[in-house]
Structures are given as structure tokens and as C-alpha cells.
Symmetry: C2
Subunit: 215 residues, 2 copies
């Protein structure tokens, strides 16, 4: 009975890592859709939402069943509570990948990101990708050092977003208001993806230490 | 011992409602700061974040202590799990009120919202305010009918956001790219406030019925 319980706890972590990987793939695909004006890929990301939602529902259900039937305490309790927080982050990241894909789809066959903004969006997407990858590793290995690195990447993301605003507002933007709005929202979406990766890492810190790091 | 436990459970609900009211006040004040270019109010909202954060930390701590020490089942367990979800929504709404205030502060002494966009932003803020008020009532009274009404208000919010985009993109926007970007982000912030109110209502539906409503 207890063996089964620990197996279930481990399985929950494995599934969280799996879903995080799927979300990472979705965000990367959304970026491809966006920068290559690749509608098929945009549609694929949008269509895959249900699959990710289902996996999230399943892992939440498992966590709730363990909470209700095993009356866990200490680290086990924190792991289940953290799981229910992290699934909310994963759900949001998945939704943000879809927002990015929808911008790509809406502008097609025109590219949604004019040439001068492409390096910045590419850089933000790269940082977001790396942050989700770190979050997956942190969840899987409970690596608190990597959690601190994530905060550094988050600062880099903030800098990139400021650069993007500077580009839009330097008075020489001649690609129209619609693309400026798209870019402002895209900047926000990638930044939020990064924030959710940081949140996940913080949940792991809480799980291991019992203390939430100071934000 | 059990009496104290139920008292604690009730107290958690009372505090959730109290925090929701505070968040509602913060969002309303942020709107005043924005539409009246009222910097003192903007600063007040930005300064009040710590107070709201502290209340949220406290109610989470209470919920975690009950989870760890009372091994609740059924409805009580769901209430505590829902609490830990709703605090995340409240935290985000509080952050969004601050984002709105910061836009007001950044543009001052100029108004961040040019005249032609004021009615739409005012309408979005009004819907957001009403949605947070409904969320507070739903948490306090477990009123599932009101939860359904909230979804209707959410549709109204979507319509207003589309109207806002139409206004920015109709080719006659002559208030510059910077204000168009501010407005696109403001639209997103109010919409997200509404989404979090809907999330809170859904958590109450789950709490009462054991089932999450289909999104």
C-alpha cells in the first residue's frame, strides 16, 4: 500500500516533467509558426491544446486522489500542493503558446513580425525555451542551483522586452500600428512564459526547503 | 478541537472574501489613476501590493496548516485546495492592478488613455469591477447561479476588447504608437482580471459540486 503510494508520487513528478516538455515543444513550435509564417504549425499548436489540458487534468486528479486518500504530511503534502500550483503554470504557458500561434495565423500570409523585430523576438523565444527546459530539469532533479540561474534568465528576458519597446517607440517604426500592437503583446506573452517557469522553480524550492524564496 | 477546525475553515473563506474586496478596490483605484491621470492614486496602488501579498501569504499558510494537521477529506479538502488556487488568482489580479497603475504613472502628466479610447477602457474597467464583486459574492455565498452570470460578463469583456482593437486599427488612430501599445496592453490586463474572476468562480463550482465546469 505505502509502496504504491510512493510509486504514485513519483509518477506525478514524471508526468509533470512530461507535460513541461510538451509545453516547451508547443512554445517552440509557436515561435516557428510566428517567425516562418508557418500556418500548418500554428494550427498544430492550437489543435494540441486539448491534449495538454487532458494531461494536466489527469495529473491534478492523481494529486487530489492522493491528498484525499493518503493524508500525506510534510514533504509529500508539499509535493502534492506544489503539483496543483505547477499545473496552473503549465496551463497558462500552453495558453500563451496558443496566443502566439493565433497572432501568426491572423497575419498570414504576411509575417506578423517585421524584419527589424525578428532578432529580438527570436532572442526572447530562445530565453523562454531555455527557461522552460530549466524548469523541467528543476522539477525532475530538484536542483535548487538551477532555480537561482532561472532568475538570471528572467532578468535577461526583462531586458529584451525593454529593447523591444525601445525599438517600437524610437520614432522610426514604419511597420504600422497593427504590428506594433502584435509585438507588444508577443513581448508580454514570452515574458509571461518565463515568469511561469520561474514560478515552477519557486514551487520546487518550497517543496525542498518548506520556504518560498523571496520574490 | 473539531469546533476550532471548522472555525478555521470559515475564517479562511472570510479572509478570501476580504482579500478579493481589497483587490477589487485596487483595480478600481488603478482605473481612477489611469483615467484621471491621478499619480497619487497610482502610487498608492503600487505601494499597497505588499499588504495584499501578506494577506495572501497568511491565508495560504492557514490552509497549508489545516491540510497538514487536520487531514481533511471531501468538501473540506476541496475547500482548502480551492483556496490555494484562488490565492494564485488574487495575486495575479493584484499584479495586474499594479501594471495598470504603472502605465498611468509612466505617461503622467499626459493622460495614458486618449479621449476616444476612454469610454471603452471605462467600460472594460466597469465589467472587471463587477466581475470581481461577483467572484467575492460567489466565494462568500457559494452561489452557483452567479457563477454562470460571470461567464456572460466574460463574453462582454471579450467584445469590448475586440472593439478596442478595432478602434486602434481602423486607420484613423492619430495618437501615436506608444498610446496604441499602452491600450493594447491595458485591454489585455482588464481581460485577464476578468479571466481570474471567472477562475475563482469555477473553483467554487468545483468546491460545491466536486466537478470543474467545462471551460
Amino acid at each position: 500500500m505505502r509502496d504504491q503510494y510512493y510509486e504514485q508520487l513519483d509518477q506525478i513528478v514524471d508526468e509533470l516533467v512530461l507535460i513541461t516538455d510538451r509545453v516547451r515543444t508547443a512554445v517552440a513550435a509557436a515561435t516557428t509558426a510566428l517567425l516562418d509564417t508557418d500556418i500548418a504549425t500554428a494550427e498544430r499548436v492550437i489543435g494540441a491544446e486539448t491534449t495538454i489540458e487532458q494531461s494536466i487534468d489527469e495529473v491534478e486528479e492523481r494529486a487530489l486522489v492522493l491528498l484525499a486518500t493518503q493524508q500525506p504530511v510534510a514533504t509529500d503534502l508539499r509535493q502534492l500542493v506544489s503539483t496543483l500550483r505547477m499545473t496552473a503554470d503549465l496551463q497558462r504557458m500552453s495558453a500563451l503558446a496558443i496566443h502566439v500561434s493565433k497572432i501568426a495565423r491572423r497575419r498570414a500570409p504576411e509575417p506578423a513580425v517585421p524584419l527589424p523585430a525578428q532578432p529580438l523576438i527570436r532572442a526572447m523565444a530562445k530565453v523562454a525555451d531555455s527557461m522552460i527546459g530549466s524548469a523541467a530539469r528543476i522539477v525532475s532533479e530538484r536542483d535548487l542551483g538551477a532555480a537561482a540561474d532561472l532568475e538570471v534568465e528572467d532578468d535577461e528576458m526583462d531586458r529584451l522586452r525593454k529593447d523591444l519597446f525601445r525599438l517600437l517607440l524610437d520614432g522610426e517604426w514604419d511597420h504600422g500600428i497593427d504590428s506594433a500592437i502584435d509585438l507588444a503583446l508577443l513581448g508580454r506573452y514570452y515574458e509571461r512564459v518565463g515568469d511561469h517557469a520561474v514560478n515552477m522553480a519557486r514551487r520546487v524550492v518550497y517543496l525542498v526547503t518548506g520556504e518560498l524564496p523571496v520574490a
